[in-house]
């Protein structure tokens, strides 16, 4: 089938229009995409003073720009995890009554190893290594 001049020009116009739209949209989309900020990678932080927690309590601490949670188990052992719920990103807390880590947003429960006990979280909490040094409790990212 022969291509008429009108159809050819209309096609060409369509292609140019698409190109024009792409030329407009591309910088807009790039403008909307947030600029990546250089963040200093934090490998270990002081999460608490040695005498700050009592058995069956927990506290939140800053791990770089994210919250972490340090727990002293009822047996007196320290455990640390990322405090960001793996479901939809709320910050978890320690429930002394249930002896579990709990997310108030959608009622997700994690045990003292960070594993999901109940609720919608799909994955365990990221576990950190923790150790006492002098009068401070240090938390550091575990080597994978």
């Amino acid at each position: 089938m022969a291509l008429s001049r009108r159809k050819f020009l209309n096609g060409l116009l369509g292609i140019f229009s698409l190109g024009g739209m792409a030329a407009v949209m591309s910088p807009v989309i790039q403008y909307l995409t947030p600029v990546k900020k250089q963040e200093t990678a934090v490998s270990s932080v002081v999460a608490a003073k040695a005498n700050e927690l009592t058995p069956n309590t927990g506290k939140l601490f800053r791990f770089g720009s994210k919250p972490g949670i340090l727990i002293m188990t009822p047996d007196g052992e320290y455990r640390a995890f990322s405090a960001i719920c793996t479901h939809l990103g709320c910050t978890v807390q320690y429930s002394s009554e249930e002896q579990q880590i709990w997310c108030a947003c959608h009622n997700g429960h994690y045990d003292l190893n960070g594993n999901v006990v109940s609720g919608p979280p799909p994955r365990p909490l990221e576990a950190y290594a923790c150790f006492a040094k002098g009068s401070e409790i240090f938390v550091q990212r575990q080597k994978s």
Binding site: L32, T33, P34, K37, L60, R62, S65, K66, P67, A83, H87, L88, G89, C90, T91, V92, Q93, C103, A104, C105, H106, N107, V116, G119, P120, P121, P122, R123
Partner: protein, 351 residues
Amino acid sequence: MLKKITAWVEDRMDLSTVRHLMLEKTVPKHRYTFFHLFGGAALFLFVIQIVTGILLLLYYKPTAGEAYKSVKFIITQVPFGWLIRSIHSWSANLMILAIFLHMFAKYFLKAYRKPRELTWISGFILLVLAMGFGFTGYLLPWNELAYFATRVGTESVGATPLIGHWLLQVFRGGEDVTGATLNRFFAIHVTVLPLVIIGILSIHLLLVQAQGMSKPIDVEEKGKIPFFPNFMLRDLMMWLGALIILLGLATFLPWELGRPVDTFASAPAGIKPEWYFLSMYQILKWMPAALAGIPGELIGIALINIGGALVLLVPFLDRKASREERSPWFTIFGILALVFLVAITVYAKLY
């Protein structure tokens, strides 16, 4: 004087459409005529939103450091600031309630049927935009509840296949909910959404004016009511009722500010979104971690979207109504959907 002005304008442009609307437009009179009034109430509350929103803009500061303080200043220092802010918050809720009532009323009257499919679709888009207003506006006081609601809401967007993470970053202005998110939500709330909603609302109202109000299938029509002034006066009574309820709520139950954001604090116990998001919240809460290898939150979000798509496409699904035949299954489906929505909302609120 008025006649002279009218004549002057008429010399320059055709006013027959306006005259038709004022003098000749009628509304079908039947036992369900009352149900036509909720749309007008939503429109009235929207106007209140614009006026109070502009007033709040005079003092509000959209930065992470200043937002909470500026809202606190509005409600504690500015004369009647507490009232303006309370009216804005309550009116937003009542507006969404009015839109829901309007939608269900039109659904049960089968007003979506041919030739009003586009009116239904534009109305559905308006509901989504109104909820978008609620979601973006909720964050602006930069308080604790709003912070976590935004984290959950934007994280849900992140579950969208393929472009989810990019969308999440665009909404948040980064990986986390920060001051950048507040800036973006503010821009969306006060510029993008108003422009879009006024455009869609104009189409919606134009369609209503052009096509007139629908008459339910098989309902006996008891004549016509002139739109102006008879139906307009009923609209005014409805607006007056809405205003009385709004002022009562805003005055006697002033909207609370809550505690300021602490990005390193746990989500507080009992945290829940606004009532119009409770059904979605509960669905996400009920989802298991995974089902057949698919993440639970993705299934929950997919279910919510499928529900929305079904509502949007109702005019095309209900073929019988389009042929002016009764469609009892759609009525039953509507009743079930309404009962489910109310029940799940109440359940989520209580438990």
